[in-house]
Amino acid sequence: MVNKGFLSIILHAHLPYVRHPEYDSFFEENWLFEAITECYIPLINVLDRLNNDQINYRLTLSLSPTLISMLRDDLLQSRYQHHLNKQIELAEKEIIRTRHNPQLHKLARHYRRFFLKTKKTYAHYDSDLLSAFKKHYKTGHLELITTAATHGFLPLLNINETTVRNQINTGIETFKSNFGFSPSGFWLPECGFYPGLETLLANSGIKYFFTDTHGVMDASEIPKNGTYAPLDCGNGVMAFARDRESSHQVWSAEEGYPGNVNYREYYSDIGFELDQEYIAPYILDGTTRINTGIKYHRITGKELEKDYYDLKQARLKIDQDANDFITKQQQQIDQLSSTMDRAPIIVAPYDAELFGHWWFEGPSWLESVLRLASQKNNNFKTISCSDYLKQQSMHQVAIPAASTWGDDGYSSYWINEENDWIYPFIHRAAEEMEQLATDFEGMTVSDLQKRALNQAARSLLLAQASDWPFIMKSGTTTEYAKKRITDHLARFNYLNESIRKNSIDEHYLFALETMDNIFPDIDYRSYTIKPSDAPPSIKSD
């Protein structure tokens, strides 16, 4: 069949920095371990199978710098190995416990196989999942891109351009030092764009980024191809917009695929259901119940008693939903290609953690979609945005509108009565970091001072993560978010004062470098105020 258009699926993988060497185990580190078991390794297994079967596909994966750092970290790798061993052990106990219930027993055996497969993949890549992604990048099927250093929400950090520049550049540098090349594309945290950001992206060598639908639809010029072709921001950087249809099919809580009654119920986990004494070795401190990853029920339906999960039924539904998705894309491409002056591109970005964690069947669905999309009877191909730009270099010039993919399309999720208190502090810290770097410019800096200045920059970046205000608003692990931002700001304040007073305590500095060991190549001098960054005049005594 003639190729009439393209589908670009982008997975954005990100977790905040949840490394806690000051504790022997820490609840929030489980976020990483769950994501490795349920999302990243299943994704790698999908890519391995597609590769083995020589399926022709193209997928884009954005890896955040904080996630990159944690996946590479020796301490977290060893803690993950311990976590996985416990999961296997629990699955084996479950096989014995459920031996008189055939349905549960079957599921328990399934989980054991699942965890064993996870272990096998992890060992195969020598605990280095980044090498797996790099391998698939080298096959030409996977495009790798990145995002801001600590996923800072740039529209609320942009009163200080140095801050935004460092979020972008530190992110790109982290990616480059781990993968050996610079990314072409950039995932704006929360698709948070504002006019002017395209200039900073261009200065950093980025060729394209993503906005939400209304970012392009409300651009400075009416987009003649809607969201089905990128906009040229006037400086060679291209803006691709999220497609509403393909987004709704997956993300919609009411109508999206993940909500189907045959899929696994996320909230039904044996960590919360089984006897305390039995489950104690597998939950936090032996007392605080947490997810174990072993869940026996399917969604079933609202107000209904949860039914046991049926693997075969789920599999049938996966294939049905994959076919449905492909059919819808085909219809959309057919419609669009007849009216556009170029081949349309449907841009379908999703959080990577949806696939496997929130939606257990997600990776299998993705695999089915990519297999179906590669078939010759399809009227479209999967593509990355880089490929699309190689095929079609001239695009309508317009600046996207300020926008995000947040709840209401703007910034309110990140600044509201739950989290507004943080902004005076993080803005002030950014100004102080600039001042520190500028004051030391041209001076001979001792090794100790340099280490302290670099560590101050790390603390600042970590305080700027958009995850903290997001969590405060969503009300999930609020105390943890408050603790993290307070920790990082306190560490920054401590370092700032120590540097200013020339009283750097090396023992304390070493402790901070050990706890926050991210961005090893950071250079505080990137915070030096440049003439164009000079702040507006401020009245003072």
């Binding site: 060497p21 000051e22 504790y23 022997d24 185990s25 820490f26 609840f27 929030e28 020796d74 301490l75 060893s78 190995q81 996985l84 096989i95 196989r113 064993l116 009163i159 504002y194 002017g196 639908t213 209304h214 409300d218 936090l284 401190d285 509108a401 300020a402 703007y410 910034s411 309110s412 600044i415 009565e417 507004d420 208190w421 005076p424 502090f425 803005h427 002030r428 999930t476 609020t478 105390e479 943890y480 408050k482 603790k483 307070t486 920790d487 700001l489 306190a490 560490r491 401590y494 004062e497 304390y508 070493f510 901070l512 050990t514 706890m515 005049s537 401020i538 009245k539 003072s540 005594d541």
Partner: protein, 234 residues
């Protein structure tokens, strides 16, 4: 038990060989003993014990947690959505503080302009709204008129003198607010502390009388951020 039952021409199993193989494979797949992953700790270079790291972290938090104290005047605008912007200020210098005394009878005002800051040499009157303020520090969400085009806001805090001259104490950043979208319904949520600017031409609104309550920003309770120390480390 006669072992000859298991072999020889009298052996008559009730189950076929292929089925036996199938069952054997299934049992092997599901019940083979598993050697746990060897947890490799050789590369971990934690040269400070975790207790010491925790002690350092807690000490720093105790003395350096962020506090609502600032030594410079500051006025900042942030964009929330097409119908709201967010403003926070801090007046730190003695001049500003003296102007704010006595409470409720001073002429310190917040001026919000729906235009960017201008070069002071080019004096051109621009429309503004004035909100009397009586606090050194505050942060507020402010409702603004809807707009379908790119609009820039700026603000000043200053003093209206007796002969109606305005002296700026601190200027804000320029803020490009969000443009109203054809695709989204403008949010209309309002909270008690929000300030409304009327949709029509600017005119004075009620003064902001109450400061933001001083909150403790040191997380003194820690329900979700649960760290665990092994018994040896306690």
């Amino acid at each position: 038990m006669d072992l000859r039952l298991s072999s020889g021409k009298n052996f008559n199993p009730r189950i076929s060989a292929s089925e036996m193989i199938k069952i054997s494979h299934k049992i092997s797949r599901d019940f083979s003993p598993v050697e746990p992953i060897k947890v490799d700790t050789s590369n971990i270079k934690l040269t400070l014990p975790s207790q010491e790291l925790l002690r350092v972290s807690q000490n720093i938090n105790l003395y350096y947690a962020p506090k609502i104290v600032s030594v410079i005047n500051k006025l900042t605008l942030l964009a929330v959505d097409p119908r709201h912007l967010y403003i926070y200020w801090n007046l730190a210098n003695s001049q500003a503080k003296s102007l704010l005394q006595p409470m409720y009878n001073n002429d310190v005002v917040l001026r919000i302009y729906s235009e960017p800051k201008q070069d002071k040499i080019n004096i051109k009157p621009k429309p503004f709204i004035e909100i009397p303020i009586h606090t050194f520090q505050s942060q507020r969400k402010i409702s603004i008129p809807k707009t379908s085009k790119h609009t820039t806001y700026s603000a000043d805090i200053g003093n209206n003198s007796e002969n109606n001259n305005f002296t700026s104490l601190v200027e804000s950043n320029d803020l490009h607010v969000y443009k109203e979208s054809k695709l989204f319904t403008p949010p209309t949520s309002h909270h008690d502390n929000d300030v409304d600017i009327q949709d029509s031409e600017f005119h004075p609104v009620d003064p902001i009388l109450f400061s933001t309550p001083v909150k403790s920003h040191y997380a003194s309770t820690n329900h979700s951020g649960l760290g665990h120390k092994d018994k040896d480390g306690e």
